[in-house]
């Protein structure tokens, strides 16, 4: 008994630094934001208590509904493609016999992930620049006119999605490789004996066995992409005519540019709730699928 309470004490002590910083930097600001969202506060300092007024205004705000839609469009362009590309790259790297080449390729895919977002967006805005972008030369070579990717409604969102996938796919590849390595090679040997072709091996061995990783990557991706802000702010700033205005960009606009801290907090709280609800829903959907197998 004594031993048990003792280990409890040590456990708490060891967890204390985390709990301390968690409360200080996450819980406290979140509660603060929640309270803020019921006021008409400016960006800094308290305002008058207005109850649910911000929330009521929010659901009549065309721009908010548009930003919500845009955020989900971005999720559509990134979450599944990023996961599938990650899986494909991981499988290709995994097939390589030479471990050095495999390690080199993995590093190549992973390096973008360690770059800060400012560098990534700068590199891509150079590459895609209408005036001197290297991609434009390629387009011209193929006989197409130059395209201002971040200024055209039909290209802006996919272009930011491509930049995002290029930037973050390395992490997914890493997770998938770990998953692939954990599959017992004897299962593949057995399937060889049964005469399974590559597709059958993927469909009936790799895919089901790697499913937990796929579900994890999908969930992480969903959460990351719903929080899209940096790349969008740096590459399109929400334009052209709000076609890439995402929820966090609206929070920034209302809070920092319009000095409406209360309203911006209300938008942030709604996004917070959406992320929680959507990720829980996704978790249940993916978990059921796993059970069926």
């Amino acid at each position: 008994m004594k031993k048990y309470s003792n280990s409890n004490f040590w456990g708490l002590l060891l967890a204390f630094p985390f709990i301390f910083f968690y409360v200080l930097f996450l819980l406290y600001p979140t509660i603060y934001t929640l309270l803020f969202s019921f006021t008409d506060s400016p960006l800094i300092g308290w305002g008058k208590w207005v109850g649910l007024e911000n929330y009521i205004k929010l659901f009549n705000d065309k721009l908010f509904l548009k930003s919500l839609k845009n955020t989900f469009v971005f999720v559509f362009w990134t979450v599944v493609p990023n996961t599938l590309i990650g899986l494909m790259c991981a499988m290709m790297i995994n097939r390589l016999k030479n471990p050095y080449i495999a390690a080199f390729l993995l590093a190549c895919f992973f390096i973008p992930h360690i770059l800060p977002v400012t560098v990534v967006t700068q590199v891509w805005s150079w590459m895609l620049s209408k005036q001197y972008g290297i991609i434009q030369e390629f387009l011209e070579f193929l006989g197409y006119a130059k395209i201002a990717f971040f200024k055209k409604k039909q290209f802006a969102m996919p272009a930011v999605a491509i930049v995002t996938i290029w930037w973050t796919v390395g992490f997914n590849i890493l997770l998938f490789i770990a998953g692939l390595k954990s599959i017992n090679p004897e299962i593949y040997e057995a399937s060889d004996l049964d005469g399974a072709n590559s597709w059958a091996k993927f469909r009936y061995i790799t895919w089901p066995l790697i499913w937990p990783i796929t579900a994890l990557v999908l969930t992480l991706q969903l959460i990351f992409q719903l929080k899209i802000f940096d790349q969008m702010y740096l590459l399109t700033a929400g334009g052209p005519f709000n076609s890439t205005l995402v929820v966090l960009q609206l929070v920034y606009k209302q809070g920092f540019q319009m000095n409406r801290g209360g309203y911006a907090s209300a938008i942030a709280m709604v996004l917070f709730l959406i992320i929680i609800v959507v990720s829980i829903m996704q978790y249940y959907v993916l978990r059921d699928k796993e059970k069926d197998k």
Binding site: P42, L43, I44, G45, S129, K130, Q131, Y132, A148, K151, K152, K153, A237, G238, G239, P240, F241, N242, K253, F256, Q257, M258, N259
Partner: protein, 420 residues
């Protein structure tokens, strides 16, 4: 290596001692002057520091526009603001109600010789928005037309004095461009993807056409807004200027001789002057008023001012305030040099001086002073305001062929009227 380490530590020791001995006041300075004018400002800061051993300006240049003003706002809120900063007078209506600008009393200003009678009345009035002086105007800057004198001469668009002719009136302007279009792919190098740049040219055209941007609580009454926007749309559509060109590339098009006309602010004058001086420009350039495409002449203008950020948490100390006032006074007295950055100094004594009157190429566009129009004095207008935002968001796509003039103006109208 060892020597380096020793001198490093020696440097620290010496600086600690000298700090204790002469008590140098450090003035933290933020500006957004990233154009050709920024180089001149650095020179002025160096000159000030040299002349004042007891004050050292520690200057940082930050990103112009929204990033700068957001940073000022948040830094002042937490007490980490600079001691002095540059600020656009057009933004005072937005800034003064938020309390981010510290009012400066008449006595404080008088202590360094800054008095109302030394400034243009309209300018001083703008700096006194909200019933108190919130900043000291440094300059007036406007939009102008840079032209390649050799190409325009060849096209027969210069008069005997070397000034552009036949470019005034929409038809003449378009005809002149058609001539230039035969000589080059794009006669105009203009930052067509830049909301701020479009605002400056468009707002000038709107005023040339005697239109209003705001009337009471309605944005863009009548159809003048659409008509003035249509001119810019036509320029792209007819192939006189390329779509979606960024600021640096537009400037580059003019410098490289690719385009004969460049519409930009006076702040790029030093860029051209320096290139010319180093024989890197390859042609003779001139700076004049923008083409007058309506019944009267109008030129968008704004002013840079010096302001003191206010913070409840950490108000400026008396010692720093004294130093900052000295900086403001000195900069105003010495703003003749700021004229070489292309700007018109706000200090009338400087403008009236013989030195300024003979300054080149400033004297060729000195008349813009008579036709200046400033941004509407409203919280929704001014640098980094919702109006600038709306120009990037809606008007720039229209100029670049993504929206019609009517659609774009309507979208902006909906957006801005909701904020009024």
């Amino acid at each position: 290596m060892k020597n380096k380490i020793i001198s490093f530590f020696a440097g620290i020791v010496i600086s600690i001692y000298s700090f204790g001995a002469s008590a140098v006041t450090e003035v933290v300075w933020w500006d957004f002057l990233g154009g050709g004018d920024g180089v001149r400002m650095k020179q002025m800061i160096d000159n000030f520091n040299e002349a004042h051993p007891d004050i050292q300006i520690n200057a940082t240049t930050l990103e112009w526009g929204v990033p700068f003003y957001t940073k000022v706002q948040t830094s002042a809120a937490v007490g980490e603001q600079p001691d002095i900063m540059t600020y656009h007078l057009s933004r005072f209506p937005l800034a003064v109600p938020t309390g981010v600008l510290r009012p400066i009393s008449a006595e404080e200003l008088a202590s360094v010789g800054i008095t109302a009678d030394r400034f243009f009345p309209a300018n001083w009035e703008a700096a006194n928005f909200g019933g108190a002086t919130h900043g000291v105007p440094l300059d007036i800057h406007a939009n102008v037309m840079y032209f390649n004198a050799e190409v325009l001469g060849e096209a027969g668009l210069l008069d005997e004095n070397g000034h552009p002719t036949l470019l005034d009136g929409v038809d003449n302007f378009m005809n002149g461009l058609a001539k230039l279009d035969e000589m080059m792919e794009f006669p105009i190098g203009f930052a067509s993807d830049n909301g701020g740049m479009i605002w400056r040219w468009w707002y000038s055209i709107l005023n040339m056409m005697e239109g209003d941007f705001v009337d009471g609580s309605s944005i863009c009454p009548g159809d003048k807004c659409e008509k003035s926007l249509q001119i810019l749309i036509d320029l792209v559509e007819k192939g006189y200027m390329p779509s979606n060109v960024d600021y640096q590339s537009a400037k580059g098009m003019f410098i490289s001789g690719e385009s004969a006309i460049h519409i930009n602010g006076v702040w790029e004058v030093p860029t051209m002057v320096d290139l010319m001086r180093n024989n890197e420009l390859g042609f003779k350039f001139g700076v004049v008023d923008m083409p007058q495409v309506g019944p009267k002449m109008a030129t968008w203008s704004d002013s840079h001012a010096f302001a003191i950020p206010h913070s409840d948490k950490n108000p400026i100390s008396d010692e720093k305030l004294e130093a900052v006032l000295k900086v403001m006074g000195w900069m105003s007295d010495n703003s003749l040099f700021w004229g070489t950055a292309g700007h018109i100094p706000a200090n009338t004594e400087v403008v009236d001086s013989v030195f300024y009157k003979n300054m080149q190429p400033n004297s060729t566009y000195a008349n813009i002073g008579e036709n200046m129009v400033v941004d509407p004095f409203l919280p929704i207008a001014g640098v980094a305001s919702p109006t600038y935002d709306a120009f990037s968001n809606y008007i720039a796509p229209a100029v670049n062929g993504e929206l019609s003039a009517e659609e774009a103006i309507q979208m902006m109208r909906d957006d801005l009227e909701a904020l009024m």
